[in-house]
Amino acid sequence: MKKLSFLIFMSFATLSGCANMKEFYAPPEPWERDLLAQDKMIIGGHPAEAGTDDHVYFSKEAASIGHTIGGGGCGCN
């Protein structure tokens, strides 16, 4: 009986694990990419906003490489 209970528990745990897993990894079909195609889903946000932030933080912090490379150098104060 204990063995059966353990098996049932493990089955539920595995199934719920799969369900959670699907929440984080369930690749869409090609025709299901409408949501990802929206501008708001672009990683890094709007280029004008990202560019401004990069310039501000480049001027005020020591870390100056990461999400982007290159860019317009400056003798920032």
Binding site: K22, E23, F24, Y25, A26, P27, P28, P30, E32, R33, L35, L36, K40, M41, I43, G44, G45, H46, P47, A48, E49, G51, T52, V56, Y57, K60, E61, A62, A63, S64, I65, G66, H67, T68, I69, G70, G71, G72, G73, C74, G75, N77
Partner: protein, 424 residues
């Protein structure tokens, strides 16, 4: 009956194919004449320090299915005051001896009557930067891009070229991107580049003409679509900068550490090489088919001894219609550069000229100190017949560990208007 069904399916396919084929040229025509324009105005203001006004105009021209051309012009004007690295003198008396950048304010070294350098000095500068880019699709899976940039300030010029490429895999669920960027910078300070560790109060006998530096950066990233509403990007970047890397306007002070009385001022000296690296991850997730959660993390390290963590979080909430708001929190923490010194101690013989134990390099630039930054921001955006507009406000609090100017509060306001021109 079965045969008839098959025929009707074939007919349907033929019709569908026909529709696709007849619609394709129309779509291409629309894309061929599609033009996006971004107009941005930004105002950045630090309490009692730097103030920047910036105007950008960017254009993206979707020439056809395979080619996108882009261009951007940025102009900004910078005024205000910035720390020179000199310690605040123990008495109220002080004299302005140098400007940190550009023209305006006081000029020249020497002529001091009390040998104190002003720790916070006024300056004026202007910048114009021009970007041009070409994005090309080679076939269904390969894309490449080239971007050129030229930036000019009163005392600084930069020429850069970036090349990038991407390849899609795994039924276009995975994208691998790689890029290389190089730049050449020319530093032409208002009074000429000074000798590193040269005494500020000397009559500049060893002034350089210009400073030069070369930069090369490499980056690789992988983007993976995880679900219908989430994706992740992970990547790494590495860069090498070589040349004149000191700041020509920054100084270090030799003091009597007990009385804090300045004994000498020297132009700062940084190494001529700087190797930088970073790894990062960004995750975007759609909630309830509308809101977007974005989380990004970056770890940075370099051979100057700096390590930095950046955590960036945004939450976008769609309001009714085409309006939305976004909240933003950013946390940043860095360790100090090995050669950061708020001051050099005379008692420890650290004077670069007359001391017996001077450091190899020294900078009192507050940006190389142990530091924690907090940023809070809010954005409101909307779409209409005249395009998309958003306004945002950010406030940043910077808290250093040493030095006289270790705390800073800055505010940023930006409005961006995006226009889409599509010929019907």
């Amino acid at each position: 009956m079965q045969l008839k069904k098959k025929q009707s399916l074939a007919e349907l396919l033929a019709v569908a194919t026909g529709v696709l084929l007849t619609q394709a040229p129309k779509s291409a025509l629309a894309i061929a004449e599609d033009l996006d324009m971004d107009i941005s105005y930004m105002e950045y203001r630090e309490d009692e320090r730097v103030r920047v006004r910036e105007m950008d105009v960017g254009v993206k021209w979707y020439y056809n299915d395979d080619n996108i051309f882009s261009g951007k012009v940025i102009t900004d004007s910078i005024t205000g005051a910035t720390p020179s690295g000199a310690l605040k003198p123990p008495s109220a008396a002080s004299q302005t001896l140098t400007t940190p950048s550009g023209v305006g304010g006081a000029t020249g070294f020497g002529g001091s009557t009390n040998n104190y350098l002003q720790p916070l000095v006024d300056f004026v500068d202007r910048r114009v930067a021009v970007f041009a880019g070409w994005d090309h699709t080679f076939d269904r899976l390969y894309r490449g891009n080239v971007n050129a940039v030229f930036s000019n300030e009163d005392d600084y010029q930069s020429y850069g070229l970036n090349l990038g490429g991407s390849r899609e895999f795994n039924n276009k669920l995975t994208t691998l991107e790689a890029g290389v960027g190089g730049s050449y910078d020319l530093i032409t300070a208002a009074d000429g580049i000074q000798k590193e560790f040269g005494n500020v109060l000397d009559d500049r006998p060893d002034a350089y003409e210009d400073g030069e530096k070369m930069t090369i950066d490499l980056g690789v990233s992988l983007t993976q679509i995880l679900t219908r509403g989430s994706l992740i990007k992970v990547g790494t970047s590495h860069g090498l900068v070589r040349g004149y890397l000191s700041d020509p306007y920054k100084v270090v002070t030799v003091v009597d550490a007990v009385t804090r009385e300045p004994q000498n001022y020297y132009h700062e000296k940084r190494p001529n090489d700087h190797r930088r690296s970073a790894i990062f991850a960004d995750y975007n997730r759609l909630r309830e088919f509308e809101d977007v959660v974005s989380v990004g993390y970056r770890f940075f390290w370099d051979d100057w001894g700096i390590k930095a963590h950046t955590l960036d979080m945004r939450y976008r909430h769609d309001l009714r219609g085409t309006q939305y708001i976004t909240g933003h929190v950013r946390l940043y923490k860095q360790s100090a550069a090995d050669f950061y010194h708020a001051y050099l101690d005379e008692a420890k013989n650290q004077d670069p000229e007359i001391g017996s134990n001077p450091p190899s390099y020294a900078s009192a630039d507050y940006r190389l100190d142990d530091m924690t930054n907090y940023t809070l921001g809010a954005k409101f955006g909307m779409s209409g017949s005249l395009g998309n507009v958003f306004v945002r406000y950010e406030i940043m609090r910077q808290i250093g560990t040493h030095g006289d100017y270790r705390q800073l509060t800055a505010q940023l306001f930006q409005v961006v208007w995006t226009l889409d021109f599509v010929k019907q």
